[in-house]
Symmetry: C3
Subunit: 162 residues, 3 copies
């Protein structure tokens, strides 16, 4: 009886810890990418993880490409202009050693002329994650701009639609 | 002694699970409503749950009215134009089998002329939830536009003000 | 054996509870400050906690100064105009009885002329918290405007950069 209660507690607690750990992975992305910490961004992904950040553009694959994106001239220009990759807390579904996280990303830019910020992009996001020896890591992340394109809605519908 | 420790652990873990489950209900709303998954939106509410989304407008009551709102021409027009119902992670207070969640909702619209997004509405939100046989469900949700109207502040003050 | 499993469960559950409690402190700030609940805002801080909300401006120190800020004419003008201090769910690192939480704050203002909202400020945030007899409280919060100033990026890099 005690044994069974301990087993159940350990199982339930592990699920809670998984949900929180996955949430932390997603919430770490913005502060890392907006501070230009290239390796720390890449380290959120699995070794061969990929990031499809725009329809029609080849996804980034592997940590080297991810870190290179952060170090690239276009990304550094974003940082110098003033930008914020704001991610909402994700809806999380854990299934054993894999999980799907769903959230919004909102890219804000500072506009010197006005002294205020503009919302440059709002996208639906799907994160596929896996439990690794080092904790939960991103296997694949896909964004779609919520500009009326049905693809952005389909991304959401496929994760939390039922 | 072991018995008491197990009892305490089960009680504490249940509270943690409740907090996370309620947070997931709130975070599921945006992706479901922005992908037009009408029944999935309605399923977040209790059978006779209600949603008072605007002062002076009759609240939606019951899952049929909630799903009909998602399927309505005005909501479909929002989707086709490009919109995002961004909800912040809620502050949650659990009290046995009921709970109150407090958060912001920010409605973003894509503006084709500019290629960027506008923040059309920012509202205070109060969600009253209940534990049901199928998990936590929304009994009542109320929004108030944060446009200076004291009602929006009172909604917040009534939930987290003390 | 049972004893060891109970010990491990209690230790792990406490860490989960700490993460959630700290998240709740951060998520309570917005609704409290936007509803003008001055003492409730101040109560999130430790007795002698401080809030450095702008570079070059002396930080608020202690609960009296924090509550006075909420009651001040400038803050009340914000509330009457319509504003929302939107905070994202924080990344949280707990280390025994202290913790660091990292998030974004986005200040939205209602603009009567247009009927929509503007994003007036987007800042990086670092919260240092401590476990007290009354639960987790803020020892120090620092914001930096993400307008291209390297200080805002350094604030983030110092908390989640590695």
């Amino acid at each position: 009886m005690t044994e069974e209660r301990l087993d159940a507690l350990e199982r339930r607690l592990r699920l809670v810890e998984d949900q929180l750990a996955i949430t932390q992975v997603v919430l770490a992305y913005g502060p890392r990418v907006d501070s230009g910490c290239a390796d720390a961004v890449a380290g959120l992904w699995a070794e061969d993880g990929c990031y499809e950040f725009q329809a029609g553009v080849a996804p980034l694959t592997g940590r080297t490409e991810l870190a290179d994106m952060v170090r690239s001239a276009p990304h550094q220009a974003h940082l110098n202009r003033g930008c914020a990759h704001v991610l909402t807390a994700p809806h999380v579904r854990v299934d054993g050693d894999t999980a799907i996280a769903t959230c919004y990303s909102l890219m804000h830019h500072f506009v010197p002329d006005t002294g205020i910020f503009q919302v440059s992009r709002v996208s639906s996001n799907r994160w596929d994650l896996a439990r690794t020896a080092d904790g939960w890591r991103v296997v694949s992340r896909t964004n779609r701009l919520l500009n009326g394109d049905p693809a952005a809605r389909e991304l959401f519908a496929g994760t939390v639609g039922s």
